[in-house]
């Protein structure tokens, strides 16, 4: 595979308009840049394929789905959307709203808790700091189902299962969010600045909210995004906690639709259209947020 790509590239290289130079100068690098570009394009193609498929499949009527070539657009898109709207009085949109609520509120709370904890762990030297951090990190290792079953039983005792809180609360503390917030805080908030705040007589809380928090914002956007995606994509916790399908998030709603579809294939078009509409908001969120979201954050963007 790679040798094939290389030989293609060698042949294509002169057409790329390389200027003659020394044997090991720019022309060589021009030639080589094609290998990475082609590799990445193949990767992009692979990653976009199912998305492209769902865009086209959502335009097909139930009959066309099973009879026409997969990548040929159909004629049923508006009808599919109408059917989806009509399905059980628009329960689909209820699921989308629920997901937005779970993910939005959950990520917001989670980011706040992560910011507080990460800042405390990064800035202060106090007894038990590393212990607290290690114990929190051990939370990352806990398989969700290990937690989810006893969480379900405990919440059942508190009469909280099958409620919005049962899906929201267990996800507020994110060990990974704390880990990221700690890295961002230690990279973005210089100790001198905190010390200067103290000299000026500001309280610790004021230094955190007025001085440190604004510096941490770019990092916290990342924490928010990670957590939003994690909650939006979550399946196991609502699957265990919820029985009332009016409270389902979109993942669980679509899954129940697919399960019924194995008996009534007519529901497949609804599943496909529903899947397309469910991924659009997240794709949109990604395109918007990536402008604010510097990839260099993890490496620590602070210059002294």
């Amino acid at each position: 595979m790679s040798s094939l790509a290389t030989s293609d590239v060698r042949k294509a290289a002169p057409a790329a308009g390389t200027t003659p130079g020394t044997a090991q100068g720019p022309p060589l690098r021009h030639r080589i840049a094609l290998v990475p570009t082609l590799t990445l394009l193949l990767g992009a193609l692979y990653c976009l394929l199912p998305v492209a498929w769902v865009v086209i499949a959502a335009t097909k009527s139930g009959r066309e789905l099973f009879s026409t070539f997969t990548f040929l657009p159909g004629t049923g898109f508006t009808q599919n959307v109408k059917d989806l709207n009509a399905y059980r009085d628009g329960v689909y949109w209820k699921w989308m709203g629920n997901s937005a609520l779970y993910a939005g509120l959950g990520a917001l709370l989670s980011t706040a808790v992560s910011a507080l904890s990460g800042y405390a762990l990064a800035i202060y030297r106090f007894r038990g700091r590393e212990t607290v951090f290690s114990v929190l990190m051990a939370g990352v290792l806990m398989p969700p189902v290990i937690l989810a079953i006893p969480q379900y039983l405990l919440l059942a005792k508190a009469d909280l299962t099958d409620s919005y809180a049962s899906v929201l609360l267990p996800l507020v503390l994110s060990p990974y969010g704390v880990y990221l917030a700690r890295i961002y805080a230690s990279a973005a908030v210089p100790g001198d600045v905190v010390e200067a705040g103290r000299m000026d007589g500001a309280s610790e809380w004021r230094i955190f909210t007025r001085v440190a928090l604004p510096m941490m914002v770019p990092g916290l956007v990342t924490v928010f995004l990670f957590q939003f995606v994690a909650v939006w994509n979550n399946f196991l916790l609502p699957y265990i906690m919820l029985s009332d399908d009016e409270k389902f998030p979109i993942t669980l709603g679509l899954f129940t639709l697919l399960e019924q579809g194995s008996n009534t294939p007519a529901l497949y078009t609804l599943v496909i259209t529903g899947a397309l509409l469910a991924v659009l908001p997240l794709i949109a969120l990604f395109l918007v947020i990536q402008r604010f979201w510097s990839l260099d954050l993890l490496s620590g963007a602070v210059k002294s």
Partner: protein, 307 residues
């Protein structure tokens, strides 16, 4: 340290106050459930008489009985072996691709890198359940473009939702969903390598391949360790993808992965005691694997530093 002693009251108490929300949440939603799961795993229900009436069902001490049952349960063992096979495909392929794409993104004069980077990262935004649905449809002979092409070429059409190919089908969903995230983690640490490191190599006339193998890969080793670590955990916890494919085929049993078996025992059979013991075993295996792996990685790093 004299400065430590001069700390004011506020400075001393602030970190504890800041950590309070996390501590409370940890106690309620991590520590308490874990403790409860351990307690459950050591108990069983004792039914007296016909099991009717309020005093007839009692929780009694079971010792390690549930653990013994779990470890000799062939369904759990089969699930573990399936996940082992699945992980043996997913982890090397996913991390290999992630590293390859990260190195390509980091190479000089690569074209279209913002577009391809976003495209490869995009599956991360798509819920595992939806990803499994999309691929599930692409595996269905009636709907899939692959089968259409195979048919036109007159080639045999494998059943992707059964037997050995089912592993590939499930692995592909995980690789598709996870490569982009791991690529970003590795790429970010590649970006953090100071330019000076490359300059010496360039003066020595190293080729980009040599730079990648001898400088870049060793320098991103810590992120590789991290991504490997997360991948092991994610693999042991695979649940939603096989669960989603289940309605599309008859070949995915309800106990395909260990976690599905735990779910089935807890909510299908209503035996939360066995489920708790199984869950504890999975957690222990995760911990042992992770710590073992981290220790191995650390000792290797130390050896390299010593050289």
């Amino acid at each position: 340290m004299t400065t430590a002693r001069r700390k004011s009251y506020g400075v001393r108490t602030a970190p504890y106050a800041f950590l309070l929300p996390a501590t409370i949440l940890f106690a309620l939603f991590f520590a308490l459930p874990i403790g409860y799961a351990l307690w459950l795993s050591l108990h069983k229900v004792h039914v007296s008489g016909l099991g009717l009436g309020s005093g007839a069902r009692k929780e009694v001490w079971a010792g390690l009985e549930n653990y013994k049952d779990a470890l000799t349960d062939s369904e759990l063992l089969d699930g573990a072996l399936r996940v082992l096979g699945y992980g043996a495909i997913v982890i090397p392929v996913m991390l290999g691709l992630a590293l390859l794409f990260a190195l390509m993104l980091d190479s000089d004069k690569v074209r279209l890198s913002p577009f391809t980077r976003l495209a490869i990262f995009l599956p991360y935004a798509i819920p595992g359940v939806v990803a499994a649905m999309l691929w599930g449809f692409l595996y269905l002979p009636d709907v899939s473009p692959f089968y259409f092409i195979l048919d036109k070429l007159g080639m045999p059409q494998p059943d992707l939702l059964d037997g050995g190919p089912l592993y590939l089908a499930l692995s592909n969903i995980a690789v598709w969903g996870g490569t982009g995230f791991n690529m970003i983690v590795i790429y970010t640490s590649l970006k953090a390598i100071p330019v000076e490191v490359y300059e010496a190599a360039k003066l020595d006339g190293a080729t980009p391949l040599q730079v990648a193998l001898k400088i870049k890969i060793p320098m991103v080793a810590p992120s590789l360790v991290l991504t490997f670590f997360f991948s092991i955990i994610a693999t042991l916890q695979v649940f939603s993808e096989p669960t989603t494919l289940k309605p599309l085929t008859n070949s995915v049993p309800t106990t395909w992965s260990p976690l599905m078996k735990v779910y089935q025992d807890a909510f299908g059979k209503g035996d939360i005691y066995s489920a708790a013991a199984e869950a504890t075993i999975i957690a222990l295996v995760t911990l042992v694997l992770s710590f073992g792996f981290l220790r191995a990685a650390n000792s290797r790093n130390k050896q390299e530093e010593a050289r």
